[in-house]
């Protein structure tokens, strides 16, 4: 069974078409990345999946159920903009979100306590939300999304603003959920997260789907047109070389998008500076994202 089936969905706000004839299928138990620049229609799509917004046309089915909020109890949602009631205690709040999903009782309390312990928040369970640090509040929000024991978890930028330690804690929790068979939808700008954690990625740009598939499939469509180099001369040594379409400078290394033979490029580069490292690679998801979403592409789509 598919967790989400979006078929020909269109949604407009006034004269702005936020989502245009979108079709995407998210298989159950998969980890799916929703990527796209700001204002591309990601959040609108997520809100339609969650039944917060209704599509103008097309259908959205969540676990086979369409058009109603029937699947709502099976979905957990962590929005990008975090928000929790500040004047209440953490445990009370998590029980409240549980009850909203129809879950209560001693077993549910034990489930909540388990997650509080797992994310190092047990000592804060009876403290008010406004006494939690930003990182703690973010973890609390994550538990709130899990409170209804969802089969589908929608995470909008789950790691943003977290320090490396809490990021790892949350990443491990997500992987554990994935192993337990929960379908996870990531909405993110962090391409490394999408690349490392997602089975499949879908990219939306100006309301339209521009990518959909596994990372391998997506990279394969772009071929081996990129070389990663490290030279004594750095990025300056690449200036004016024949066949160079664009350079993504990381300081110590540079990813160079080529048009032409990589060997000829290597020979030309070696003639300018000492080459320490040279590898023909497939373009990263970051590069593909930038290629699609750069301003010129924006104009092309328009």
């Amino acid at each position: 069974m598919n967790a989400i089936e979006i078929r020909g969905v269109t949604k407009s706000f006034g004269s702005v078409r936020a989502v245009d004839d979108l079709t995407v299928t998210v298989p159950a138990a998969s980890t799916y990345g929703f990527i796209g620049p700001n204002g591309s229609g990601k959040t609108t799509t997520l809100r339609m999946i969650l039944n917060i917004l209704l599509p103008d046309s097309g259908t959205i089915a969540v676990f086979g159920q369409t058009g109603t909020a029937a699947a709502r109890d099976q979905v957990g949602y962590l929005p990008e903009e975090r928000g929790l009631y500040k004047a209440v205690k953490l445990r009370w709040l998590l029980r409240y979100f549980s009850r909203l999903k129809g879950k209560s009782g001693p077993e549910q309390d034990a489930y909540i306590d388990g997650w509080l312990t797992r994310l190092d928040l047990a000592a804060w369970a009876d403290k008010r939300i406004d006494s939690l640090s930003k990182g703690m509040a973010q973890k609390a929000q994550f538990i709130a999304a899990l409170a209804g024991r969802p089969s589908l978890l929608v995470l909008d930028e789950p790691f943003s603003g977290l320090d490396p330690i809490n990021r790892d804690v949350l990443k491990d929790a997500v992987l554990e959920l994935k192993r337990s068979g929960i379908t996870i939808v990531f909405s993110t700008h962090d391409m490394s997260v999408a690349e490392q954690m997602c089975d499949r990625v879908f990219m939306i740009f100006r309301g339209r789907k521009v990518l959909d598939g596994s990372i391998d499939e997506i990279q394969a469509t772009y071929g081996f047109d990129t070389v990663r180099v490290r030279t004594d001369g750095g990025a300056e040594a690449l200036a004016g070389l024949s066949g160079v379409e664009s350079v993504n400078d990381f300081g110590r290394t540079q990813d160079v998008r080529l048009k032409g033979d990589p060997q000829a490029f290597l020979a030309a580069l070696a003639g300018r500076t000492r080459v320490q490292y040279f590898e023909v690679v497939r373009p990263s998801l970051h590069d593909i994202f930038v290629r699609i979403a750069r301003p010129e592409a924006d104009d092309a789509v328009a």
Partner: protein, 439 residues
Amino acid sequence: MRWRERLFVVAAAEVAMAVRGRAFIIGIMFAPVMMAAAIGFQRVSQNRIDKEDRRFAVIDHSGVLYLRIADLAREWNETIARRGASGLRENDTAASRILPEPVQPAGTEDDVKRALVDRVKRKELKAFIEIPADVLRGGPDSRVRYYSNDATETTLPRWVETNVTRAALTERFKASSLDFAEATRLTRQVPMSRLDLPTWDERGVARESAVDPARAVGIPILAMLLLWFAVLGSAPPLMQGVLEEKQSRTSEVMLGSVTPFEFMGGKLLGSTTVSLIVAGVYMTSAFIVAQWLGYVDVIGVRLIAVFVTYVIAAALLYGSVFISIGAACSDFKDSQAMMMPAMILIMLPVFAWPTVLRAPTGALAVAISLIPTATPFIMLPLSTNPPGPPVWQQIVGLCLTIATAVLFVWAAGRIFRVGILMQGKSATPAEMLRWVRKA
């Protein structure tokens, strides 16, 4: 999980969040404490004995009244001295000595007045009066002129008006050879006692009781204020709560679990429950006070039922207005501006109350009582005085209020659905109207 269960979960959480903590206790106590403090202050200030002497000058063009006025002042001052000696507490006017002094003509009339003005400014005098020469003829244009720089003073002007009249009447009767005491007896007004309808007990003995101003006016006003506080205690905070949820993005989290309708409906149900809790606390307090003061018979089952009905209707009606404002606004400044018309709507019945009280069965009062936003605040106090408004008026008023509450809740649902997700810009009233029509 069914929508009704979710609605009740949201409502229960709203109630729990509203009533927990000191803020609710302080809020619930604030209104009655302030009311009691205001009444207490009024009573204390009424009982305060004003002992400041009232010295004033008299320009007597009649040439005969001053001596009478001086006599009357002397009598007055002796009475005060006697009462003071026997330890009686009097109202403020009774404890001030009245000290008139004649003005001897010196120079022109202007010079005399200038000198008196200086003395008033130096606070040697409270005022000076000018009695016209024709005062004894009793012409329609003959009037005493009272000059002072204290517009709020009431004790001395009141004394002067009463006693100059007494002095003039005495002199007029004397001039016409009539017996003043006899004339006073013959022209004395016939007093009237206002009574409730008499009742007869089982032995056929008639019982009469005087109209009690506390029952006639005090209790209705109190009932209206209690309803007012119960609604004000929940409706405006609802707007603030929705706005905070929007600003903190909690609303987005909530909408991941409940539909906008369940969210708004739960909040509205919760705030109505809070109103009922507040009303329950006030009613219980009112019952205790009424028992203590001997008015417990006023609080019957019928009145409680009417009170609860109107609390629910008013809380839903005004709650839906305030929740719409909260959903449509993006910051507190805008919400305050949009709240003003709603507050005027809620204040109007209070302003209209004196008109209704003067003629409760008049066409204007009936019309006001049938305006849905005013009905709870007008019909409830009218119901405290048996037999209350006619049944048809109560039924029509209640039906219109319920219909309007349903309409407002429906419109609020449409505004809420769009507004709750809107960030950065507050909606205009025209936009809100468009959402209602098109959502």
